[in-house]
């Protein structure tokens, strides 16, 4: 009875084997070859950007990277973390600091050949300032009261009060073409096709885009900073392992944001791949809601710092490749970093002593309380990273040791964000950084508590408020340094935000690529001199 059946199965077997063989061999052939255009740089990324329109760019990928390839601002931030002229040639300000004059380059053309003039600058800033546009970075430029041109190569800015970060932040905004966007009403700008068909002054133009798969940029024929590399091809690969393989087998040239575990693996499996580590610009932090009864006591916050073994994390999870920062201003910002702040070496005995002295008595379950307030908190963390989860679990275990109870709660980013802004949280694990100027007004000024700003920890400190106010309007550099030194001292004494470890920053690239960025490519500044990158083999 089974014979007919088994026989038919038999007949299928040979062709099935042949098919499998063909696939495997075909695949092997595919992986062995790397016929690629030698003049194309293949860069890998884990997430794609959403839009090429810099007004509405929301991710690091499209906001920092694609925008850097396609657009320019009047200034740019160099490897020294200071602003330098880009579309501008020079700038100056009035003695009272409320008026700036900027001279523009005369040799610039948009990628469609139309000359760049002051008309574009005036148009751009007025568009950004118009509330109807919904410009995401509005908070940065809102103290500009008037922008107007004087001739085709000079622009004037009136600002409400002197601004020390004017050239850094305000002049750093990307400039948009008036002849392309001028006719669109501000509230329709978001729906224009500019996000898919951008026109800019940057070294590259967008050639093709398959969302969440591949973005190709080509040299801008009218570039005033013509790049040596003719094409950049970004490939989206969601997972770390696959990224590594593409780099190791030569089908890709660059991973700009390398995870620590990838770093370790690459050293082992592909020693010919070049690795570059950077002083990190981002710090993993733990943010505390100071409105919460237990957390409003500075003794508790300091005790949490003393009780947390951050070095064990840096050592165990990151192989000592990340620093354990003493301040929220990272050490790599040499110009502003103040090393003379209160330090918190791991000392659980000291933590317990502090808590005892402040009246937090240990209860029968090992958790401290005082006047009916228990030191029991909920820690919110974005789901999706086993490494961060493990970091937080270590933190929780350390806190339990000193008598503080913390429950971990994984949630998605939107919920996390919503709860942060509405103040419905105790503790949140996050990352901060990416800024090159110590002006942290939006995060720590007492008038910036949501919904007015981003001071989500509800921090209110008179001394820091004063420092922030003065630091912003003081144009003298030495005076600013002194002001922000003081701010750092106060911040690290009162700890609204606990720095944990620096965020690992490294890049892996093929030996045929030569570049000298000096700053991590995933920072807002990484691609600042992409026109100088070149192939050396």
């Amino acid at each position: 009875m089974g014979s007919g059946f088994a026989h038919s199965l038999e007949r299928l077997r040979a062709p099935a084997l042949a098919l499998v063989a063909a696939l495997v061999l075909g695949g092997c052939a595919a992986s062995a070859e790397t016929h690629r255009d030698p003049n194309t740089l293949v860069a890998l990324t884990r997430t794609d950007g959403a839009t090429m329109n810099p007004m509405y760019a929301t991710t690091v990928q499209d906001g920092s990277i694609y925008a850097a390839l396609l657009f320019d601002g009047l200034s740019y931030v160099g490897a020294d973390y200071l602003p330098h002229p880009r579309l501008a040639t020079s700038w100056s300000h009035s003695p009272d600091g409320k008026h700036w004059t900027v001279d523009l380059r005369r040799d610039i053309k948009w990628s469609d050949g139309v000359p760049f003039t002051s008309k574009d600058v005036v148009f751009t800033y007025n568009l950004y300032l118009n509330p109807k546009t919904g410009f995401l970075d509005f908070g940065t430029i809102k103290n500009v009261t008037r922008v107007y041109a004087e001739g085709p190569y000079r622009v004037h800015f009136d600002i409400a009060f002197p601004n020390a970060v004017f050239t850094l932040n305000v002049l750093g905004e990307d400039v948009l073409p008036e002849h392309v966007l001028g006719k669109i009403p501000p509230d329709r700008q978001r729906f224009s096709s500019f996000g898919e068909h951008p026109i800019g002054t940057g070294p590259y133009v967008l050639k093709s885009w398959q969302h969440d798969s591949e973005v190709v940029f080509e040299r801008n024929p009218y570039a005033y900073r013509p790049p040596k590399i003719g094409r950049i091809d970004f490939r989206v690969i969601f997972n770390d392992q696959a990224e590594l393989e593409a780099l190791a087998n030569g089908s890709a040239d660059l991973i700009d944001d390398l995870a620590h575990t990838q770093y370790v693996q690459l050293q082992r499996i592909a020693p010919n791949i070049k690795l570059m580590t950077f002083a990190p610009l981002y710090v993993d932090v733990i943010e505390l809601n100071l409105a919460h009864a237990g957390l409003s006591d500075v003794a508790v916050r300091q005790a949490m710092m003393y009780g947390y073994d951050r070095v064990a994390i840096a050592h165990g999870l990151y192989d000592d490749k990340v620093p354990v920062p003493d301040s929220l201003i990272v050490a790599s910002l040499k110009h502003w970093y103040n090393p003379n702040v209160q330090k918190y070496p791991y000392d659980p005995d000291k933590a317990r002593a502090l808590l005892d002295a402040a009246g937090w008595k240990v209860g029968p379950d090992g958790i401290r309380s005082k006047n009916g307030t228990r030191l029991s908190f909920e820690l919110l963390l974005n789901q999706g990273s086993a490494l961060l989860t493990d970091e937080m679990l270590t933190f929780i275990a350390d806190m339990r040791d000193v008598g503080i109870d913390i429950n971990l709660r994984l949630t998605d980013f939107a919920s996390l964000s919503a709860r942060t802004y509405t103040g419905k949280y105790d503790i949140i694990a996050d990352a901060r950084g990416g800024f090159v100027d110590p002006d942290l007004t939006s995060i720590f000024a007492s008038d910036q508590i949501p919904p007015n700003g981003a001071n989500t920890t509800h921090y209110k400190d008179a001394r820091v408020d004063r420092d922030l106010r003065l630091g912003l309007v003081t144009l003298d550099d030495a005076k600013r340094q002194a002001i922000y030194d003081d701010m750092q001292v106060e911040l690290m004494k009162t700890i609204p935000i606990m720095p944990q470890v620096g965020r690992f920053a490294a890049t892996a690239y093929s030996p045929r690529l030569y570049f000298d960025p000096k700053v991590s490519l995933q920072s807002p500044l990484g691609y600042y001199n992409v026109e100088d990158w070149k192939f050396v083999q």
Binding site: L317, D398, L408
Partner: protein, 300 residues
């Protein structure tokens, strides 16, 4: 009873039942006998998962926690969630399906369309919202979530059974022989209707264990540090997993073996009830693990 003896003759089913019994015993008594804290983080072992050894039978994970002890606690979670969620979904599903099947006509049509609606919802989104809205994320919530998203598939099954039962030959025969309605219901309808339900219940426990592991894997189920086989699998996505396969294999195999056990038990029950009720052909009670009817969380 005849069914029970028949069940005992199915060897895979017996092996499966023994395993489950063992698991239940371990889950209850294990943590009492071995009082190691499953959540203790060992600073010196952070980043260096230890392979299985005499000190750590299943090795340690990324932050130095003993995987064997965590697996014990994970067993508790899986068994509790598996069984309790099954009770929730079956209570709703049986009632719903029986009413729909018995009513027929428009009521049946409407009720089944509602079931279709339930199955169309992006379940993951529902889970996300529920998990984001609940402040205290307890095992009860997880049980409710899984139970409330898996009853539609069961309702469909029960309804189909009731519909086919109404037309069955033996019902006609019994009626023809003068059986009273009560006798019909008690001696014939209920045993026959219950049989596939019991089988489905055993499969459902396995499905629910899979569902909980998926939820926990995505961070929407059992919250760390509480161990669950699902959230222990999160470590599988870290590249350290390549060098420390026990982190990936232990929780995964635990799930596989447990679900396998419940599956063969279900199969055994099916065979046992089948031949004892006196169906002439058998296998008409075939009830299958039904990923297409279950919540999409267990689907691929």
């Amino acid at each position: 009873m005849r069914s029970f003896r028949r069940f005992l003759r199915e060897r895979p089913a017996v092996i499966g039942s023994s395993f489950v019994l063992l698991l239940v015993l371990i889950a209850i008594f294990g943590p009492i006998l071995d009082t190691t804290d499953p959540n203790v983080v060992v600073h010196s072992l952070i980043g260096f998962p230890q392979p299985p050894s005499a000190a750590h039978w299943f090795g340690t994970d990324l932050i130095g926690r003993d995987i064997f002890v965590r697996s014990l606690y994970g067993a508790r979670v899986s068994l509790m969630v598996g069984a309790a969620a099954m009770v929730v979904s079956f209570t709703i599903g049986i009632l719903y399906g029986a009413i729909a099947g018995a009513s027929g006509g428009i009521v049946d049509n409407l009720m089944m369309r509602f079931v279709d609606a339930m199955l169309s919802f992006p379940t993951f989104f529902l889970l996300l919202i529920i998990s984001a809205l609940t402040n205290k994320f307890s095992l009860t919530i997880i049980i409710l979530i899984i139970g409330l998203t898996s009853w539609p598939g069961l309702a469909r099954l029960v309804r189909a059974e009731v519909l086919s039962l109404r037309e069955r030959d033996f019902v006609e025969a019994a009626r023809a022989l003068g059986a009273s309605p009560a006798r019909l219901i008690l001696r014939h309808l209920i045993p026959n209707a219950l049989a596939p339900v019991v089988v489905a219940a055993a499969f459902a426990i396995g499905d629910n264990i899979l569902a909980e592991s998926s939820l926990s894997f995505f961070g929407l189920g059992v919250q760390p540090p509480s161990p669950s086989w699902g959230n222990m699998l999160q470590d599988a996505l870290t590249p350290q997993a390549e060098a420390a396969p026990w982190m990936v294999l232990v929780p995964g195999l635990a799930i596989v073996i447990t679900v396998l056990a419940f599956s063969v038990i279900a199969d055994g029950i099916r065979v046992a009830l089948d031949t004892s009720i006196g169906q002439e052909t058998g296998d008409e009670l075939d009830v299958e693990p039904a990923p297409y009817a279950a919540a999409p969380a267990t689907a691929t």
